[in-house]
């Protein structure tokens, strides 16, 4: 089975935020929650770089390790998904996650957290594939339809890559060779151990 990975090519990302918008629209993400975001460093300076980031679906995922109710599971594709029926909105996965991926719809007073929401790699949740419940809770399950994540699919500069980690790495390597630079596959040494 393929090991799914995300990669954002910072030499190409133009901070258009289309991935953010596409994700929000595709999955009807709750109010106040963004599963993906673009971060620009050294904004406005010559060395400005932008990176689109969401859940990286880590190996040995920190979120999974600290969850008090153990509601995460890793799919055969290496995706880290979770069960909202079990999640208690404690926030621990957000404290532990290196990429700030877990988000919470605000529920009640004093910022009390609702059930956690994060990027699913467009692979839904534990419910039956493409069922109405899955759509309501986790958004669309594009993987079950044989498609890759929408954010990467519609990225205009093809900066954001998603798919089988080996293919993504090969593609990126060939770009770097042509470009004559250093391979900065951002976040991979934090996220992936396989």
């Amino acid at each position: 089975m393929a090991r799914m990975k995300f990669l954002c090519d910072a030499e190409r990302c133009i901070e258009c935020n289309a991935c953010v918008t596409a994700c929000k629209n595709e999955h009807e993400v709750p109010w106040g929650v963004n599963r993906r975001r673009v971060v620009t460093i050294d904004d406005g300076l010559p060395e400005e770089k932008s990176i689109s980031v969401a859940c990286m679906h880590c190996s040995d995922a920190p979120c999974q390790a600290v969850c008090p109710v153990d509601c995460f599971y890793t799919t055969e594709d290496g995706l880290v998904l979770h069960d909202k029926d079990i999640c208690i909105g404690c926030g621990y996965c957000f404290y532990a996650c290196p990429f700030g991926a877990p988000q919470y719809p605000q529920e009640g007073a004093f910022g009390a957290r609702g059930k956690m929401d994060k990027c699913t790699f467009c692979a839904g949740g534990p419910e039956e594939d493409n069922s109405q419940e899955e759509l309501d809770k986790y958004g669309r399950n594009r993987l079950a339809e044989g498609k890759l994540p929408l954010c990467a699919e519609m990225c205009s500069t093809k900066a954001l890559l998603a798919g089988d980690g080996d293919i993504v790495a090969d593609l990126f390597r060939s770009r770097v060779v042509r470009r004559g630079g250093r391979p900065d596959n951002w976040g991979w040494d934090t996220a992936y151990k396989d």
Binding site: D43, V69, D70, W186
Partner: protein, 333 residues
Amino acid sequence: MAAAQAPTKRKKMMLWTGILMLVAIFTLPLTGYLATGSVEAEEASEATNPRADTWRQVRQGSEGYSAVTGRETNELIQGSGENWRQLRNGPMATYGSWLLVGVLLVLSAFYLWRGQVKMTHPRTGETIERWTVNERFLHWTTAVLFVILGITGLSLLYGRLVLIPVLGKEGFGVYADLAKLTHNVLGPAFMVCLLIMVVIWFKHNFLNRIDLEWFKAYGGMIGDKHPSAEKLNAGEKMWFWTLATAGVALCLSGLVLDFPNFGQEREVIQLAHVIHLITALILVAFSFGHIYIGTIGTEGALEGMTGGQVDVAWAEQHHDLWLKQVQEKQHSK
């Protein structure tokens, strides 16, 4: 006699110093652990390559700009989360369970060996007031809140290990949801009770020479000596000061966790969580001892906190200086 006592005294001192040092050795280095950025080894630096500089910046969690607003959305990688995970799931959970189970085992062993500390003189039938209605109400409200907070809090820490095998993930999820809500709502109520307690019982808790003597006689728990004590003995004073320090830290760190609406950053929350967990474990462990001594450990001790009255014979045995004070007051009236 005095010469024979000196070596055992020194041994006791050494034992306590040793224990203190052990505790410090385990806990102090952990605090610095959180502050260090990433656990990963820094890669060899290439100070002059501007692109490498950019990536180093990112790895070190420096901030950028993001059009997506929200909690720390402009930070790409935070390294302290992994440290927090290692700390919580590793040493804190492990040593915590040893501490709690260890204290329970020691108390059980002690009970088997010593049994209940009985009253040495028959009851006189004459009683004096030890705790007023208000004090008892405060004590039991705080105690009930403490037990509920302890159980719900520890369920979040150990439930995955202990309760999921029993209840299943769905069942535990339902319970944990309720436990979290209960813990978060009752926490501030406990804090109010604790603060009142600290204020009104402060005057009974100044440490002095009498307390030193009390410790040297092991509070009368070992052997047949009955050390003098005021209204509160040295053991009770230690419990008070633990509550007044670790307990207050527990409440304050709890508030940081309880109210995420003030935009506190993850590093602050992680630190608060570590403090909350360490102080919670210390207090729960200490409370086992407090409950043991107050109930099955000492004959007649519970009466003062339930009915408010204690027998004069009990007061003479356990709190002689306090009894004298009360009696003097009565005579002078």
